[in-house]
Structure formats: structure tokens, C-alpha cells
Amino acid sequence: MKCKLFQDTPAAPTLPPNTDILPEGSIIDDPSAYMLVQIGMAESADDECTKAVNRTPAQLNQARYEYSRTKKGIHPDDFTRYDRGEIDGYNMDGSDVPGPNPAEEDEEESSIILPENYNEEDD
């Protein structure tokens, strides 16, 4: 059963730790290859895998999108902001990496509350 990776992917963890990378487009031939497709990391590369995946194209597209979010370590609290394109990940200091559609910063509100009948010309 074969699948083809969408993007560069770290090889399975080992002890001692490795830093091996499976390049984009790598074909993985493994009985569990269909799981990588279901997760959104890869696409089927043979009929056996396609049959085992058992997902609609829409479900696979959604899984691929969600995996791109997962890989960036986006916390569920930030899913909405990620989906709106406001953030694309986190910097080393914990601040947001701006997304393609960054949120406009709110104008700083004044803490002075003026009476309803206030008129600047009266001053």
C-alpha cells in the first residue's frame, strides 16, 4: 500500500533521536500508509491505498488543511484566528507570526467618558 507525501516530513522518531527528513513527493510503501492520507499528510499512490482511506475528496482536502495547521502547532484556542488568516504560527518569543490576512489593531479607546451633551465649541 503506497502513499505520496505532500511536503518535507521528518522521519519517524527513533532513539537516539534522528533528524532525517523524507522529502516532498516521497513514496511510502507501508501497510499503515493509508493513515497518513487520512491525517492529511499524503495522498494515495495506488488503488489499494485509495480503497483503504475511504474518504471523500472534500474530507481529504479538509484533513490536509487541518494538518497544515497541526504541523505549525496552532493551539485550538487560536484555530479561529488561523482560519481567518490572522496568524500563521508562533515566533520564538511566543508572539504571533502574522498570517496573510492580519487583524487590524483596535484603535486605543479613551478612558475618559464624556457626557452626552458635551460640545467641544463650548470650551
Binding site: C3, L5, T9, P10, A11, A12, P13, T14, L15, P16, P17, L22, I28, D30, P31, S32, A33, M35, L36, Q38, I39, G40, M41, A42, R55, Q59, A63, E66, Y67, R69, T70, K71, K72, G73, I74, H75, P76, G89, Y90, M92, D93, G94
Partner: protein, 143 residues
Amino acid sequence: MALIKAKGTTLNLGIAGASAAIGQMISIELPEMEVETFEADTLDNSNAGIPYKASGRIEGGSVSGDLFLDPSVSSTAIKGFLISGAANLSPSAASNTATVVLGDGTTTFTFATAGMSLGGTVALGEAVKGSFSAKLDGIGVWS
């Protein structure tokens, strides 16, 4: 003092030779590794305190965590890991080894598991959550 942020941390499991990140994680508990000790008291000990000595072994503990459960995606990876891990008795095999990549993107905690569990909670007023636990085989490695 160096601080490593938690945001951006991922748990990655080995599936089909690739490292698969688990989606919708909420929290991860790293293992409390502990040196095994034994009571080394003797009848002629005149002190009130009970002496203990290290046995020379280390209990690896377990890694656990919570996630928003999505049976179609997030738990697929854990399920696959359960299956491949259960079928494989070799502690060095990639199929039962996982790594936690911390939020800085470079610090990792890699561990082999002897077994894993996955459960879930359905409660009014909350999203369906899953919880997992992985018993370490040996001790984990920070790098």
C-alpha cells in the same frame, strides 16, 4: 534564565516511517522520571531516620495529554500508533517511538513506549475531549 514557550508544541508519533503530528492537542504532561530506591535499614541502625539507597534503575514514567477528539483525523494517528506499537516488541523500532517538539521548534523529548491508552470524555457544555497516556519503555531523551 532561558524560557521555552509552550505555544507551538507538537506531539509526533511514528506512523508508516513518517513522523505524524497529533492534531488539536490541548496539553501534554511530560513524564516524571524517578530513580528507583529501596529501604536500606538494618536492625542495628541507631538513627531514627529510615535510610534509602538507589537501586541503579530509573522508572521512565509516562507521557499523557488531552486533545479535542476528532475520530476522523486526530485520533487516527494515535489509533495507528496503538496498533503498530502493540504489534511491535522491539523497543528501538521507530513505530513505537514518539517525540515532543517544544514551542521553540528545536528542543525535543523523544521516547519509546511500551504501550498506550486512548480514552474520551463527553460532557455537557464542553467539546468532546480525548485523553491519552503512553508508558515509557526505558527513559526519554532530551535533545
